[in-house]
């Protein structure tokens, strides 16, 4: 019985592990210097080109850039920080959210 339970837990773990990369993740980045939408167009331009990003939202009031990852793909924190820098700004914090992209926009 114990062996059967162990096998079941192992099988479940493998299933969850395999499913994790397919989860759509929302990434929230806090950005300094983002005070002008005309100047922040580079953020949109850079992230729209990234193959792992399906949606970009810039929030000047909350000083945030929200990214929605494509299912099964991922953008690294370093790539985010670098893209923000190449757009002329400074990323100060990158967080992976549990909620959806639309929920993060509405928060």
């Amino acid at each position: 019985m114990k062996i059967l339970s162990a096998i079941s837990i192992l099988a479940l773990s493998v299933t969850i592990a395999n499913a994790a990369p397919d989860r759509v993740v929302t990434v929230k980045t806090t950005v300094n210097g983002m005070v002008c939408s005309f100047c922040a167009q580079g953020i949109l331009a850079h992230f729209k080109k990234h193959p792992a990003v399906s949606n970009v939202y810039v929030d000047l009031t909350r000083k945030l850039v929200l990214l929605e990852e494509r299912q099964g793909k991922s953008i690294t924190d370093e790539e985010i920080t670098d893209s923000i820098k190449r757009s002329g700004f400074e990323a100060v914090k990158v967080e992976r959210l549990e909620g959806s992209f639309e929920q993060a926009k509405a928060d």
Binding site: G33, V35, C36, S37, F38, Q41, I43, H46, L60, T61
Partner: protein
């Protein structure tokens, strides 16, 4: 058609007040307009977030029209990214040809310095630009202060009310006071105004 459009833009173009010398990496920025007696056309490619290279043409509408056309390199010398503000210091150097109507052309140099500070409600900028050649010697100095009547979000139309004071050396009207309104949305930017002497001010800029 594109060549015709660009030619018209050059022919009607102007001023430096809206100058955005370096944009985001990989961007082209096209700027043209007219402020008082000075028309400017600029096209740059930002090959890094701190440097851009491109073309710069100017026309000074005086007793005799004067022209400059050349290439220019711009540097973002420093940027301070604060949580709710940004400040920048830029400089640029270029070389080309300058001339005066009926008086030929000669090699010329151009240089500029710019400092600005901006929040979502306040805008300030100082600009200085020089063009020097055997026949053309001009300096353009300006200071601008602006306020935004509302805090526009990223996808909204942004509106700014700006007062600019500009001095162009050697011109008939040495100091111009220019109230103007600035709008931008997405990659499009336009300024409309007039000097207190009634000369139109129009500046246009786009990133692509």
């Amino acid at each position: 058609m594109k060549i015709l459009t660009i030619s018209i833009l050059i022919a009607t173009s102007v001023a430096t007040a809206a100058a955005h010398p370096v944009a985001f990496e990989g961007a082209y920025q096209l700027m043209f307009g007219t402020v008082g007696s000075v028309q400017t056309f600029e096209l740059y490619r930002s090959y890094s977030p701190r440097a851009a290279f491109g073309l710069h043409a100017m026309r000074f509408d005086g007793d005799e029209d004067e022209y400059f056309a050349g290439i220019q390199h711009n540097w973002l010398l420093n940027r301070w990214n604060f949580p709710s503000a940004q400040a920048n210091v830029y400089a640029g150097l270029g070389a080309g040809l300058a001339g005066e109507t009926g008086n030929g052309v000669s090699p010329a140099g151009i240089g500029f310095f710019r400092a600005d500070y901006e929040t979502r409600r306040i805008y300030t900028a100082l600009d200085a630009k020089w063009v020097e050649s055997l026949v053309v010697s001009r300096g353009i100095f300006s200071a601008s202060v602006g306020i935004a009547p509302y805090k526009a979000e990223f996808e909204q139309l942004n509106t700014w009310l700006i007062i600019q004071v500009e001095h162009v050396t050697g011109m008939e009207d040495p100091i111009e006071i220019i109230p103007k309104v600035r709008f931008f949305k997405g990659p499009y930017f336009i300024e409309l105004g007039s000097t207190l002497r009634g000369k139109p001010v129009v500046n246009f800029m786009i990133h692509f």
